[in-house]
């Protein structure tokens, strides 16, 4: 029998033996030794190679090599599926998955982002101011001169070198208008400070979002429209809002916006002081004195508003102690 025929025969033999064999590791191992072992059938073929002519050697050699590769490949495939099968049995799949840390974005951030996104949708851009300010930006430019009773409304932390910690984000308005020509349409979120005792209801700092829109012929009706839009977007289409006169030195007229919260539970009574209405934000038409302090034309009009973030967050999530927001308690943060 020629060597070529032998090669073919061994291939066929292997195929039939493999096909009829139980796929059992001992049988496979025996087959492996029988065909690919040091004294196996394929090795024997190689040793017979020396008996053929030099012309044929490379061709036949290659054929034997192909045979070896084919057989090896068959064994590899068997082993692979064998391994996978093995991995898939004898395992308790009820064991928990790997540990990954849970994380969360702070509720203050979430509220700032939710509110910012509403205003971004209607063309407001975001501008961030600094926390440390001059008296001018925090007070004088906002029409709160020294000895103005409105300064009583805000307990200010004063710093060395005649600086202070801003008491409201309204200070950013002035910076922005100083640096930019009208029209101006910005929101400015950030941290503000009040020198107050820390308690369930107040903290020495909190966060606000300031809004400012200045252009020609902006009206109080425009302000009401934007505030109502915001309320519907944030609190739901059915929300009822009301505006009532208030006083801020930097807006005239000034307003506070309430939403109807309802009087269903005892806590509703407490937080709305029995009226059902809840104060959400302060707003108004920019006072001409403010335009004067940034050298804007007196013919311009505009509106401004300020929203307290912590207040909204506490309402939205039913948080009753403001200090929880700054403690970093994982059991608290995990819930958001």
């Amino acid at each position: 029998m020629s060597l070529k025929n032998k090669i073919e025969k061994i291939q066929n033999l292997f195929n039939s033996e493999l096909a009829s064999a139980n796929i059992d590791s001992t049988v496979i191992k025996e087959l492996q030794i029988k065909y690919l072992g040091r004294k196996g059938l394929v090795s024997n073929l190689f040793s017979e190679l020396s008996s053929i002519s030099a012309d044929e050697k490379p061709i036949v050699g290659q054929k034997i090599n192909e045979l070896r590769t084919n057989i090896q490949k068959s064994f590899d495939e068997l082993n692979l599926s064998d391994n996978i099968d093995k991995q898939q049995t004898d395992v308790d799949y009820s064991l928990p998955g790997n540990h990954f840390f849970n994380g969360a974005i702070h509720p203050i951030t979430q509220v700032i982002n939710d509110i910012s996104n509403i205003f971004k949708n209607i063309g407001f851009s975001v501008y961030s101011g600094d926390e440390i300010e001059d008296e001018f930006y925090n007070f004088e430019a906002l029409n709160i001169p020294k000895n103005h009773p409105a300064r009583d409304m805000q307990d200010t932390y004063y710093l060395n070198f005649e600086k202070l910690l801003r008491t409201h984000t309204s200070a950013s308005q002035i910076h922005f208008m100083e640096q930019n020509k009208p029209p101006v349409k910005i929101i400015s979120p950030g941290r503000v400070y009040r020198n107050e005792d820390i308690s369930v209801r107040s903290y020495c700092l909190f966060h606000q979002i300031e809004g400012l829109f200045v252009d020609n012929n902006i009206s109080f009706a425009d302000l009401k429209g934007v505030m109502e839009f915001f309320s519907k977007q944030y609190f739901g289409e059915d929300v009822k809002v009301r505006f009532r006169p208030s006083y801020f030195p930097f807006t005239e007229p000034s307003a506070e916006m309430d939403i109807y919260w309802g009087l269903e539970t005892e806590s509703d009574y407490r937080i709305t002081k029995g009226t059902g209405w809840l104060e959400i934000l302060g707003c108004g038409m920019v006072d001409p004195e403010v335009f004067k302090s940034v050298n804007y034309e007196s013919s311009l009009t505009g509106y401004a508003f300020g929203i307290g973030i912590e207040r909204i967050a506490m309402l939205k999530y039913g948080i009753t102690d403001i200090r929880l927001l700054y403690e970093g308690d994982i059991r608290f943060l995990r819930q958001f």
């Binding site: 928990p96 790997n98 540990h99 840390f101 849970n102 994380g103 969360a104 974005i105 702070h106 203050i108 951030t109 971004k120 063309g123 851009s125 975001v126 600094d130 926390e131 000895n147 103005h148 009773p149 409105a150 200010t156 932390y157 710093l159 060395n160 070198f161 910690l165 029209p183 101006v184 349409k185 910005i186 941290r191 020198n195 020495c204 829109f213 252009d215 009206s219 109080f220 009706a221 425009d222 009401k224 429209g225 009301r242 505006f243 208030s246 006083y247 005239e252 007229p253 002081k273 009226t275 038409m285 001409p288 009009t301 927001l325 700054y326 403690e327 970093g328 308690d329 994982i330 059991r331």
Partner: protein, 787 residues
């Protein structure tokens, strides 16, 4: 500020309920809430004692039959000594609540008792508890005590008045607002009293140093008054307003102030030396003994009323002790004046006397009403304390005062508010506000009432129009206008991107306080930081110069509560002071905390390599280029790595030292890092140029080398790259080994090298050449021996 509804009725009445008024005041800009003073339970009624007999089982008790005009009489056991038959008494029926105590039907020594007869003290009417209260025999039986006695069945509105509305700090002022709501006019007040024929001008001379300080000073002498305890009605008013009752004169001064908004003062005339008073600024080192018995050293901002011997009162703030009106007083000088708002404010703040009078002066009083109010005060004094009133009064004033007029363009107002009111409607609104109007084409010339110190510009009138018309009646615009000029690029804000990446990597976001004590400022860097000069506590005296104090506090807080493994981050401003210039830097802080997680397969330990890897991965995601960690000696931590991008430091990563573990009471291991977001920004490279992916196979070669322990592996990797060409794509340490068979000071590093060309399949020879070069280079640079 408290306003009594009954008191308001002196000026104007309203049929509206308290709740409706509360709402309407609020909608008009006077935010208020309701306090009811009807404190006696309506179950307490007038009853007649029909019979009164001794209790069979107790000597001191009596059994009474009481008629309260119901189907049957009540049997009530009573222990009061003064109870007898045929008197009218207050009867608390079963179910009445008296001082949180509910009256129940009960048996007292075996006799049924269905209620209680009450003393004045039990009803809260006085301290009298000597017996039951005996009522006027003409009262109607069965009527509630509140109605029968006309007890202060009143509603108090508690106003949260905005600082611009000084005119509303009185019943008169609130009545004027109620008149707007009711669309009525308030009743005129007239004051009538008998005048004697002596003259105040003969008895007192007034000199005002500067009308800037005091634009009007009026006073009058009243002789031979009788200072006495105030009558009940006046005491009741003082109680209502939270004022201590002093005597009839002082109480009346307060009463008229709460009534009209004009603060008043009364001096004991005979204690004023020299028949002359001066209104002037205090001189340096002047002193005054005040009504509260404190001696105050005055200075140049304080306005004083002074006689020949010096200050007798700090104007508008507090009276002098020596010139006060007390039971020895016979003649008084009463004062009604207008002082400078700013001086009063400074003075009252300085001495911390924010009292009712200074509160009103600070917000501005009604210049034109000074004499009227003094007349009202005079009339009431005569009624309660008698006395002879001078035929004249002294009135020193700045007679240049004139009524304010504002030119008002109603078309502009319509545009400004988004309204379309006609001129007639404007006139009606102004009429409600007592603003007299004359018309000239589209302009209204508005004459402002003297009490409205807050109305000076057109825009102030726009607000008046808005609030009288009703904020809720102003239309709501349903379109948004937008100029593209107002929109600017916000895409550089990466804070939210950082938050998303870190939270999905398992970090919790934390917000911590920005204010700390000095004692934590030197733990993380040496930066000076702004200092608060009016701090409420030394614990919050400085601005944070690092996020770490707050974050470590949170870690400690959580560890104490059994949370032993977590990751935190915070984004916030970190402050520093550079040559008195404040610098704020947006900063990211990260903390990896914990020893282990209880898990059958996953392990975690706050380990600096874990943190390094996490930081690298997340900074790569932000598209920072050329990132590196450099081991740098630090004064603040034994282990400190600087994080660099393009060779510039943007932050650090550290292992918490043992001293800080102790300071913050943290037990488990902790790695922390701070990265300046402001600096990080500069290294973000969003110019993504796509590079072709090589079609040719990668050739892997592993090498193992022995080097001295001290050699930083990062330097070895760097050196491998620096001696290689672009075919070397990666060099990674995959094993570090120290072992017995190695020299004590030697470590074994196994490094996998990947070679690849973009142009062809590499052959062994080409790769071997490069690997040999690397090994040779490592040998010469680090004395590395190939294993």
């Amino acid at each position: 500020m408290k306003i009594s509804r009954k008191w308001l009725e002196n000026y104007i009445t309203s049929n509206k309920s308290d709740e409706v008024l509360e709402h309407e005041f609020t909608q008009l800009g006077l935010e208020c809430s309701i306090i009811k003073t009807n404190s006696i339970d309506s179950n307490v009624v007038v009853g007649r004692v029909i019979s009164c007999e001794k209790h069979p089982n107790a000597d001191r008790l009596k059994v009474c039959k009481v008629d309260i005009n119901e189907a049957s009489c009540l049997d009530i056991v009573c222990g009061a000594p003064n109870v007898t038959h045929d008197i009218l008494v207050p009867v608390a029926k079963v179910g009445t609540k008296i001082n949180d105590f509910e009256i129940k039907e009960t048996k007292i020594r075996n006799i049924q008792s269905k209620g209680m007869l009450c003393s004045e003290k039990e009803l809260g009417l006085s301290e009298n508890h000597n017996g039951i209260m005996i009522l006027n025999s003409k009262l109607k039986i069965g009527e509630s005590i509140n109605d029968a006695l006309d007890l202060q069945n009143d509603t108090i509105f508690d106003f949260d008045m905005t600082p611009n509305r000084g005119d509303c700090f009185s019943h008169l002022g609130v009545a004027r607002e109620l008149a707007i709501i009711e669309d009525k006019k308030i009743k005129d007040d007239s004051f009538d009293f008998k005048k004697s024929n002596f003259k105040s001008k003969d008895m007192i001379d007034v000199e005002v140093a500067d009308f800037e300080l005091c634009s009007r000073y009026a006073c009058r002498v009243i002789k031979n008054i009788k200072v006495a305890e105030s009558p009940k009605w006046l005491k009741d008013k003082m109680k209502l307003l939270g004022q201590k009752s002093i005597n009839n004169i002082v109480d009346l001064a307060n009463y008229v102030m709460f009534d009209t908004g004009q603060p008043l003062h009364a001096f004991d005339y005979s204690k004023l030396e020299g028949n002359k008073i001066e209104v002037r600024l205090a001189k340096k080192s002047e002193k005054i003994l005040c009504l509260n018995k404190e001696v105050n050293k005055l200075d140049g901002d304080d306005i004083v009323i002074a006689d020949k011997n010096g200050p007798v009162a700090i104007a508008g703030v507090i009276g002098g002790y020596d010139s006060q009106v007390n039971s020895d007083t016979n003649h008084i000088l009463i004062e009604s004046a207008v002082f400078n708002e700013i001086n009063i404010r400074k003075t009252s703040k300085k001495y911390d006397y924010v009292k009712e009078a200074s509160k009103r002066f600070e917000r501005g009083v009604d210049y034109s009403n000074v004499i009227n109010v003094m007349d009202k005060f005079t009339m009431l004094i005569v009624e309660l304390a008698g006395g002879e009133v001078s035929s004249d009064y002294v009135d020193v004033n700045n007679d240049t005062y004139s009524k304010k007029q504002i030119k008002f363009n109603f078309e502009n107002c319509n545009i400004f508010l988004g309204l379309s009111l006609k001129i007639q409607e404007y006139k009606e609104i102004f009429s409600k506000l007592n603003i007299h109007v004359s018309t000239e084409q589209k302009y209204l010339f508005c004459e402002i009432p003297s009490y409205r110190n807050d109305l000076n510009r057109s825009v102030d009138l726009y607000e008046e129009v808005a609030r009288v018309y009703g904020y809720d009646n102003i239309p709501i615009s349903k379109t948004f206008t937008n100029s593209y000029k107002a929109i600017f690029d916000n895409s550089k804000d990466i804070n939210n991107q950082i938050r998303l990446i870190l939270s999905s990597r398992g970090f919790f976001e934390h917000y911590s306080n920005s204010l700390y004590s000095e004692n934590v400022l030197k733990d993380f860097n040496n930066n000076e930081t702004p200092e608060i000069i009016n701090e409420s506590s030394l614990d919050m005296k400085f601005m944070r110069n690092s996020l770490m104090p707050g974050m470590l506090k949170a870690v400690s807080f959580n560890e104490k509560r059994g949370q032993d493994s977590f990751k935190l981050f915070e984004i916030g401003r970190v402050h520093s002071l550079i040559k008195s210039y404040n610098k704020e830097e947006e900063t990211l802080g990260m903390v990896w905390f914990g020893k282990s997680v209880d898990h059958w397969i996953s392990k975690f330990e706050a380990d600096i390599f874990y943190s390094k890897g996490e930081i690298l991965s997340f900074l790569n995601q932000l598209k920072l280029k050329n990132l590196n960690f450099e081991i740098k000696k630090s004064d603040f931590s034994k282990v400190n790595l600087n994080i660099t991008s393009n060779k510039k430091t943007i932050g650090y990563i550290r292992i918490l030292d043992s001293n800080l573990h102790k300071k913050y009471k943290i037990k488990n291991s902790l790695i922390f890092s701070e990265i300046s977001i402001d600096k990080l920004h500069k290294h973000i490279d969003l110019d993504i140029g796509f590079k072709q992916i090589s079609q040719y196979p990668i050739v892997n070669r592993d090498i193992s080398i022995l080097v001295s322990n001290e050699i930083e592996s990062s330097k070895i990797i760097k050196s491998i790259f620096s001696c290689s060409d672009i075919l070397l794509k990666n060099a990674k340490i995959f094993d570090v080994y120290f072992g017995k068979e190695l020299d004590k000071n030697t470590k074994s590093l196994s490094i996998s090298l990947k070679f690849q060309s973009d142009k062809k399949t590499l052959v062994d020879k080409e790769v071997d050449k490069r690997v040999n070069k690397i090994l040779k280079n490592l040998k010469s640079n680090f004395n590395a021996i190939q294993r």
